[in-house]
Amino acid sequence: MRKAEIITSAVFLLISALVLYEAFSLGFGWGLEGPQPGFFIFWLGLGLGLSSVFRIVQVLRDRGLLPGANFVSAKAWPEVVKVLVPMVGAVILMEFLGFYIASALYLGFFMRWIGRFSWGMVLLVAFLFAFSHYLIFEKWFLVPLPKGLLEPYIGL
């Protein structure tokens, strides 16, 4: 937990450094007609930087502050990865196959892999989801969702 806290604060410190760099290059003083574009982000960046340093010091000094628990327990983190990786896969598929096919594949894969559902159930739910979304978004609310290479073949 302590390590995770410090890493997070260090990332924030890095972000604040980036912001301050940007603020310097934009100018953060008083321009011709008022504050320059970098003015607001300069103070935000400064505030974030100082808070991160404060937080790191706080964590380092206060040994009783944090329990010795791990950020994610050894047992839990494969579970998190198991949920996260298919998510990323689904979005990659959406780039190529469009929303409907990618979502049916993702839903089906997850149901089969994690839930161990029968193939019949998998196919039914995946199809119903894609079809109902087509009706709700494309037809009723006129929100076109991304389509891929395959939809033109079935006339969508």
Partner: protein, 506 residues
């Protein structure tokens, strides 16, 4: 009395068959969102936002607010029957609600939550109807310094009263503001923090970020504990409702303090139903004649929590409509919606868009009545949703979230951002960084910056402008006090040790 005639006009708008249908659908979806533990009110409203793009403005706000009311009702179902909070604001409902259900009093506990919450909403809407017009009138005189002072006040309430670590509240808010400033500078049009990327020119969309940190983050969090819902059965009979009303009369003071406390906390910018529910539970327990029984299944625990949560939900919309400042993270998403629909939130709505404002207020009454009856009658149906296995529910929520973030700008890049912010939200939750300041900072960032820069232009760069105008000065003073408050809290015991402690044994 002008309020009354306006309210009647509002009912004329809200009672059209289309708007009643919209409200019913909104409440129904809201209850489902409320029941599902992986899907909160904030991300739920954000996901459903794209559906409002084809609606008229008034119907759109009625829809989104109805989702909020539904979610407020729905959270209690999961808490009481399954001992898992369906929403963050119903965490305290599990303390006494679940023990009651285990004792076979599930119907009674549910009916206390629904009926108590409903009357809290009703009382709050009446407060709302009478506070809103004068507050809007006051806000009409606001210039940039007053607006900046109000924003400052909003963020100081997080730091001073938000609970948890003050520094983490501050960092979360600063990150929200920074995310908001990515893109074109609002005054001069210069690209900022885009690092020469064209995609970043349009900035981070708050819908994407909210769905990510609240929705996807929650899914990742729930993956850790392989979710299996094992719950009690609940059905509400007429007798439960009658007992509830009788007991509520006997315990009216708990209900009333919960409602007023909740409404007030809801109105405070930034703090919504979640802190209100905890505070109310704590107060009811502290002032009870038998505090030791809290947690074993006393109805006061459920009544105090739910009435405060519902009142805070209504209260959160008061600053949203009158000032353009959201009272809670969910209200922040609605504020974002107002911008997308092309409305300018704030006091001018009361003059230029009367049908919108009063239609919304009237629909609060209607939405809560619909919510009450829907929940009383359909509890077993809603509880059945939790029998859907996690392996179907999780990917469904992920997919619906993807649609929500995609549909705002029609680009898949936003879905990637949603995943990224999902991981950010997961880390924030694990390390107990609060997410609400981030969401509200992101939505209010541009407004705050504009107000600050205009103030400085007015005053030629002097800070004194925030102290010389009465309204601005009051808000700034309170805000500064709240910012310093956590430091005082740390400093006072330290000073006491230094000054009063016996020195060197003497």
């Amino acid at each position: 009395m002008e309020s009354l005639s306006n309210l009647l006009m509002g009912f004329g708008v809200a009672l059209t068959p289309y708007n009643v249908m919209i409200a019913s659908v909104g409440v129904f979806l809201g209850v489902i969102i409320g029941v599902l533990p992986g899907l909160g009110g904030t991300s739920g409203v954000a996901i459903l936002l794209p559906l409002t793009f084809v609606m008229a403005h008034t119907s759109a706000i009625i829809f989104l607010s109805s989702v909020y009311w539904g979610a407020l009702f729905g959270g209690a179902i999961t808490s009481i029957l399954f001992n898992i909070p369906g929403e963050p604001w119903s965490v305290a409902t599990t303390f006494d609600g679940y023990p009651m259900a285990k004792q076979g009093k599930a119907g009674y506990a549910l009916s206390v939550a629904f009926v108590g919450g409903f009357f809290a909403s009703l009382f709050s809407i009446i407060l709302f109807s009478f506070f809103a017009p004068p507050l809007a009138e006051l806000a009409l005189q606001f210039g940039p310094p007053e607006y900046f002072a109000v924003m400052l006040l909003a963020f100081s309430t997080f730091v001073g009263l938000g609970g948890g670590s003050a520094i983490k509240n501050l960092m979360s808010a600063l990150i929200g503001f920074l995310l908001a400033s990515v893109g074109l500078d609002i005054v001069t049009g210069t690209p900022r923090l885009t690092f020469d990327s064209v995609t970043l020119l349009s900035g981070f969309n708050f819908v994407t970020v909210c769905i990510g940190v609240f929705g996807i983050g929650e899914i990742l969090l729930s993956a850790e504990e392989s979710l299996e819902f094992r719950g009690e059965q609940g059905r509400i009979g007429l007798r439960d409702v009658i007992t509830t009303i009788r007991d509520m009369f006997a315990k009216w003071y708990i209900w009333l303090t919960g409602t007023i406390l909740g409404f007030w906390i809801g109105v405070l910018p930034g703090t919504g139903a979640t802190p209100a529910s905890f505070m109310s539970y704590g107060m009811a327990k502290q002032y009870s004649r038998y505090p030791e029984k809290f947690g074993t299944g006393v109805m006061e625990g459920v009544l105090a929590t739910e009435s405060a949560a519902h009142a805070a939900g209504i209260g959160a919309l008061l600053p949203l409509v009158t000032l353009g400042v959201p009272g809670s993270p969910t209200a922040a998403v609605m504020l974002g919606g107002l911008y997308i629909w092309g409305l300018q939130p704030g006091p001018l709505l009361f003059i230029e868009k009367q049908d919108f404002v009063w239609g919304l207020i009237a629909s609060m009454y209607i939405g809560n009545i619909i919510g009450l009856f829907m929940c009383l009658l359909l509890v077993p149906l809603f509880a059945m949703i939790l029998r859907i296995p996690y392996a179907i529910l999780a990917p469904l929520i992920v997919l619906v979230s993807s649609v929500g973030s995609y549909a705002v700008n029609n680009r898949l890049f936003d879905v990637w951002l949603m995943l990224l912010f999902g991981v950010v939200g997961y880390v924030f939750k694990k390390l107990q960084y609060p997410l609400a300041p981030l969401a509200i900072g992101l939505v209010l960032g541009d407004l705050t910056e504009t107000a600050l820069r205009q103030s400085f232009i007015m005053s030629h760069g002097s800070f004194s402008i925030f102290f010389t105008r009465p309204i601005a000065a009051t808000c700034t003073a309170i805000a500064l006090f709240l910012f310093i408050f956590p430091t005082l809290r740390l400093l006072v015991p330290w000073l006491r040790n230094r000054l009063w402690a016996p020195r060197g044994g003497g």
